[in-house]
Symmetry: C2
Subunit: 522 residues, 2 copies
């Protein structure tokens, strides 16, 4: 069964050109089923903070790490064989690379690719000037203001998919939005992938926690899109982590290879907590991260030349007082900008930073740290921004309130990335002629012509006069308003239609796979 | 009486070079009297988002506004005479300027200058790569979590001076931190200037609400620093607003001229709420702002050639739903970056953006909007960042909690502006040699050598594990912790020593001036 033939493979930039007016009109209609843009085409440059000389120093240090110290590829002889054949120096599981070798290998990866969604209007373009916002990934806990923190369940997982699907400001359904701990570990991936397909018609991510789970995830996309289509097009992403410092373990390289083999995109991500998995100094952590990601990206090309891959990165810092990891701090934000500069020299799509905070509540700390971190992703030129919405408590909690607050922020970032348009209309000389000194622009022809598309207007921020806010608005903070919003959104949610035959085939596959698996919790 | 002779007129860049270690050590000592750096020297480039071609289009539109529409200078014949003598086309109060004329006039203003503080260690350098954080300015209301919103008093005013003085992350005492409404309007400026001198030893701002109040403010600095010193050095700033669109009223130009005449720095600021005082489109608002500020800057040079002046700007947006002004939104943030590019072409110090939010509470909205706005000031290259700390409810409320939260954020921005240092130590190759693959950096020689200065560590953010936060920490949000912090800081505050003779002379002056003024409320 194939749905591939129905897919619009045309220019998705065109679809990205929905006007602000259309978006705004859509937003006014309600809180669900709002047609946003499928992804953003940035109209502001990246923020390049480091000089050519310093970039080269970092690259040279990365080359020295790769050539003199090397990286270990543990528990995956196939990967080690790939390296041998590619001409790397292999001693046991330790692999060393001559300068320039990995850059040459990754040159076969596309600088930009389309990830297809089951609704082709939601196909995302990853790379170049495109920006895709995707929910946070991987928390064991969820929380909301009513029930507090608790372990995530499949119901929570599906709720977050529904909230993401309902937001016009997210572009992607994400992957392990939270861990559904009420489903056995060895079967969980099937329910997660199915939930993404069932409750969202956007692009999504599959499992990476074991090679067979990666294979299952991909197999489900073959049922949905057709095997042929999947072999020719990216329809699923797998987010694989380096075991920093300088170790790739077999679970991850096997999943990485499973995605590459199927022509699907692995996202290669070292998570470097400075002082623990890498040096406490930014330049060294960046060099390490560059080396580790580069090796992972190259491995995808050895598995299948030309497979899409995303150059990923995740820098973090540490509290001197408590030894705890810290998030949304300035050093990783600044480091991300440098990662962006380096990734662009490799011509690979970038995943970098996201919306992180250590706060346990959707409070001022959460939004300040979250925005510092999120803006670094925007400025560094990240193309795929995982963790755009929902995280609290580092990476541990997915918050319902924070999720809708972050999604609203993603809306503001659409306007931010639109930059400043300079043309006769926006320069508004006619408005100055009309209004003149000492008057106002409120009813001017220029204002009437432009006001509907002029400014971002949050659906969560309070912009009322104090009296109205306190008397009619109940003196709420934004977290309270977010609490109301996610409930309304879930109440109004309608699932996007899914072909019955595809649905049944997916359920059959899941049932067969589960029957073949051991009972219990793994 | 003169204290000018005691002033260190040496290189204040040197003083800016306190190391991170010193700062961090200082921070650990407590919450008051922490020696921070007197100002920041930025180590990251500005974020230039617009092309040369588009910058020129904006400049040309500004030139057309100035030449064809012009600006009105109302109720100040001296200003109009200045323009006549300078060769502008004057019809009544309407003044039109030939292209290039104003740029030529402002060329005599310094691109960078020192504002002296009564403690020379706190002198600030304004211009170039220097960044100075100053408290918010001008709210009629104050609020804290215990007592809610109320009109500001002189006690509140002094409390905020004390909180600013105690923060190592602010550099300037500011001006009208809040309106002390318990002091008559016509006498208020004397108490405000005296409070800055008495409770802070940092640089500060004077009154602009009437020419004689500007003169009084400056006269008080002559008592403190000596008349000769003041004539040769900048010791006080005056923040003057354009009456946008395209009107300068006499109260403001007279104050502007009073500051310039005394060789003190006026800050020239159009406040353009898009759709009301200017076009709803960013490019037009920027052109207008550029034209209005340029005219104000030029006027200072006609009053006294070579007087210091700061090119200011304040863009804002509007809610389509309520018609209320909105703050911390993406369009003004992006517009500020363009203002920065234009100001640098004029080689004038820049004041732009600040920390703004419409929220009525120190919540997630407040910190998200505040940071978006504040980072735009950082990125656009603002040298003097007024409104760095305290605002809520647009410009209407000075919040005790928000003030210390913002001051803490200013600390993080010190690390942000430090950028990425690239040298052998930070590249850390020796650390990779020592640690190797699969181990950790926690106790490595490189970590031990660097960890104390590696990462920003907030005194307000919670970075504890969830259990510790909920059991020992009382499950607080950041606003609750901020509420505790400002009380502790005020309880521990010690006034910087002030020479008795100077203090008495200042009090004498105030008493004489007040006696000469009408009773009652103006």
């Amino acid at each position: 069964m194939s749905y591939g033939g129905e897919y619009d493979r045309g220019d998705s930039r065109r679809k990205g050109r929905q006007t602000r007016t259309q978006r705004r009109a859509a937003r006014r209609e309600g809180t669900t089923k709002l047609p946003g843009v499928p992804y953003i085409i940035r109209n502001i440059p990246t923020y390049d903070i480091l000089s050519e000389e310093n970039l080269q120093k970092i690259e040279r240090t990365a080359e020295r790490i790769l050539a003199e110290i090397g990286i270990e590829f543990r528990d995956d002889p196939v990967s080690v064989d790939h390296w041998k054949r590619a001409g790397a120096r292999v001693e046991g599981v330790r692999v060393r690379f001559e300068p320039g070798m990995l850059q040459e290998i990754v040159a076969s990866a596309p600088s930009e690719f389309t990830q297809h969604a089951r609704n082709p209007a939601n196909n995302v373009q990853i790379g170049g000037k495109k920006v895709v916002f995707s929910p946070a990934y991987g928390s064991p806990f969820v929380m909301d203001l009513d029930k507090g923190r608790r372990y995530g369940t499949i119901e929570d997982f599906q709720n977050f998919i529904k909230l993401a699907q309902a937001s016009p400001w997210l572009h992607h359904s994400g992957g392990t939005i939270c861990e559904p701990v009420d489903v056995p570990v060895n079967k969980r991936h099937l329910d997660m992938v199915y939930s993404h397909i069932k409750y969202s018609d956007r692009a999504f991510m599959g499992s990476v926690t074991a090679e067979e789970r990666a294979e299952d995830s991909i197999e489900m996309t073959r049922i949905l899109f057709g095997a042929d289509f999947v072999d020719r097009n990216c329809v699923i992403l797998g987010n694989v982590n380096v075991n920093s410092p300088l170790v790739w373990d077999g679970t991850m390289t096997k999943s990485l290879r499973a995605y590459a083999r199927a022509n699907q995109a692995a996202v290669i991500v070292p998570f470097i907590l400075g002082g623990a998995m890498g040096p406490v100094t930014n330049a060294g952590a960046i060099a390490q991260s560059y080396a580790e990601t580069l090796a992972g990206c190259a491995l995808t090309q050895l598995e299948r030349k030309g497979a899409p891959v995303i150059f990923g990165n995740f820098l973090s810092s540490m509290s001197l007082r408590s030894g705890s990891p810290t998030f949304g701090t300035p050093e990783p934000a600044i480091g991300s900008m440098v990662i962006g500069q380096l990734a662009r020299r490799l011509k690979l799509p970038l995943r970098c930073a996201g919306n992180f905070s250590n706060s346990k509540l959707p409070d001022g700390q959460a939004m300040q740290e979250g925005l510092m971190s999120m803006l670094s992703a925007i400025h560094c030129g990240a193309n795929f921004i995982l963790h755009s919405a929902g995280f609290l408590d580092g990476l541990l909690v997915m918050s319902y309130e924070k999720f809708v607050m972050d999604a609203d922020l993603c809306g503001a970032l659409h306007s931010y990335l639109a930059g400043v348009t300079v043309d006769d209309n926006t320069l508004a000389f006619d408005a100055f002629e009309e209004v003149g000194p000492g008057s106002h622009f409120l009813g001017s022809a220029h204002t009437m012509r432009n006001y509907q598309t002029a400014f971002w207007d949050s659906t969560l921020s309070d912009n009322e006069p104090f009296e109205k806010w306190s008397e009619e608005g109940g003196s709420t903070d934004i977290a309270t308003r977010a609490n109301r919003q996610w409930k309304t959104t879930l109440a109004n949610y309608e699932a996007p239609p899914l072909d019955n035959a595809a649905d049944e085939a997916l359920c059959d596959f899941m049932a067969r796979r589960k029957a073949s698996m051991a009972d219990g919790w793994y």
